[in-house]
Amino acid sequence: MTEKKIRVLVAKPGLDGHDRGAKVVARALRDAGMEVIYTGLRQTPEMIAEAALQEDVDVIGLSILSGAHMALVPRVLELLKEYGMEHVKVFVGGIIPDEDVPALMELGVTGVYGPGTLTEDIIRDIHNALSIAPAA
């Protein structure tokens, strides 16, 4: 049992009150054979970047419902860069207005998902993103 597993951090930055969506995604990624580290509600960008470093994840999934994504996402990306973890693919899910998506992609986010997204699509996108640039 020593093959490479895809490790994913599912994190909720900010002050969201619930984490149903994040849990559904965590469960779906588990069923796709990934190792999902779930850290719970109300994480700061610092906590998320630190957990990503310690857990050496390939992917971070940020779930944000509060509307604070344009503040939280850039900060997480900045910290990852600071820690030397630019190779980590960052996905964002939650309530993200369409007009913010291009800006997030521009910042280096790999994918943005709203309500109604099929978990199969997320799984496929993770596989694609990692085979294009597999973790060293």
Binding site: M1, T2, E3, K4, K5, R7, A26, R27, L29, R30, D31, A32, G33, M34, E35, V36, I37, Y38, T39, G40, Q43, T44, E46, M47, E50, A51, L53, Q54, E55, D56, Y83, G84, M85
Partner: protein, 344 residues
């Protein structure tokens, strides 16, 4: 970059990367562990096991906090946490949720938490957990807290790895028959009754204490049909001072209650192990186990390489067809082949 040098220099990204190599069993991971091995053997390895929901993660959170901010004014210790959760037997995936209870430790560079999936191992820890612990030890972490998967009765591998094993119980989980069964309670160096603010804590504590009394009899006075009777314990095999009797402690991990006493007992157990020579004996047994396991794997691999192509599959087919019993299949495989008959 050289992984080993960077890990020894305290670079956290290198350590995180090394842990992944160790988990995946890569040649780089093995080579780094070989190089790091002389730097290991300094940390106090503390195992935390118990049934799901007894509060292991919360207890680990509090213990780590205490070691980082000792109440008695002693220097903070570097703490590593290895938290194991189960992998799915069907997909191999896992949700590792132990960090949720460890948020108090965020932002402290003296703490490193790593979640591990059990990846099919059934003993409560993963196969690679020992390697991960060695890496932390070499990287200078003085206290290594190893949290097992939620363990039922027989997941006792942690006792072979850790110096001090805490078995965590909570009120209301079982009657006193559970306490006299073989298995997990036998490996406890310290018994923790967590959630001690819940009703039924006295019963749980009493059941555990009675269990210990049976295991470590001393001279006892008891009442039997109204008569006071004295019973001498049978002569202990070792002198009394050499015997560790596991203490039973109450904690409320969410409130931090009982944590100072718990760390005191952990330290006392460490001192006990060193004074009695048990520390070295445990290390010796552990390393011997590791040697034997690796040796077996290497011998099987070497032997498999000498097997003529298709021979294994052929025997397996005959086994599946029930022409051979499993034991006969082994004998057939080990029997000298006409092609490479050894001279007697």
């Amino acid at each position: 970059m050289n992984l080993t040098t960077d890990v020894l220099a305290g670079k956290r990204l290198a350590l995180a990367r090394l842990l992944t190599h160790i988990e995946n069993g890569t040649p780089e991971g093995r080579a780094a562990l070989d190089e790091l091995f002389p730097h290991t053997g300094r940390a106090h390895l503390i195992g935390i096991t118990g049934a799901p929901g007894t509060g292991k993660s919360s207890l680990v959170n509090q213990l780590a906090r205490f070691y980082r901010h000792p109440a008695n004014g002693s220097a903070p210790r570097k703490v590593a946490v290895v938290a194991v959760d189960p992998s799915s037997p069907f997909t191999g995936g896992a949700v590792l949720g132990d960090r949720i209870r460890m948020r108090d430790l965020a932002g402290d560079p003296g703490v490193f938490i790593r979640s591990m999936a059990s990846r099919g191992a059934l003993g409560g820890i993963a196969i690679a957990t020992a390697g991960v612990v060695q890496a932390f030890d070499a990287a200078g972490y003085e206290i290594i807290l190893i949290e097992t998967v939620g363990a039922g009765q027989a997941e006792v591998d942690i006792a072979r790895l850790a110096h001090t094993t805490l078995v965590v119980e909570a009120p209301g989980l079982g009657d006193d028959i559970q306490a006299i069964k073989a298995g997990i309670l036998e490996i406890a160096d310290i018994l923790v009754v967590n959630k001690a603010d819940r009703p039924g804590v006295e019963n749980t504590e009493r059941a555990l204490k009675n269990m210990l009394q049976l295991a470590h009899p001393t001279r006892r006075v008891f009442h039997h049909h109204g008569q006071v009777m004295m019973v001498e314990a049978p002569a202990a095999p070792q002198p009394e001072a050499q015997l560790w009797i596991p203490p039973v402690l109450r904690t409320v991990a969410t409130e931090g209650e009982g944590i100072a006493e718990l760390t005191e007992q952990i330290a006392r157990h460490g001192t006990f192990l060193r004074q009695t020579g048990d520390w070295n004996r445990r290390e010796r047994v552990r390393l011997q186990n590791e040697l034997d396991t690796l040796l077996q794997a290497a011998l099987v691999a070497r032997w498999r390489a000498t097997l003529p192509n298709g021979r294994y599959g052929e025997i397996l087919e005959r086994l599946v067809a029930r022409e051979l019993s499993p034991r006969q299949a082994v004998e057939a495989l080990l029997a000298p082949q006409p092609s490479n008959l050894a001279t007697p």
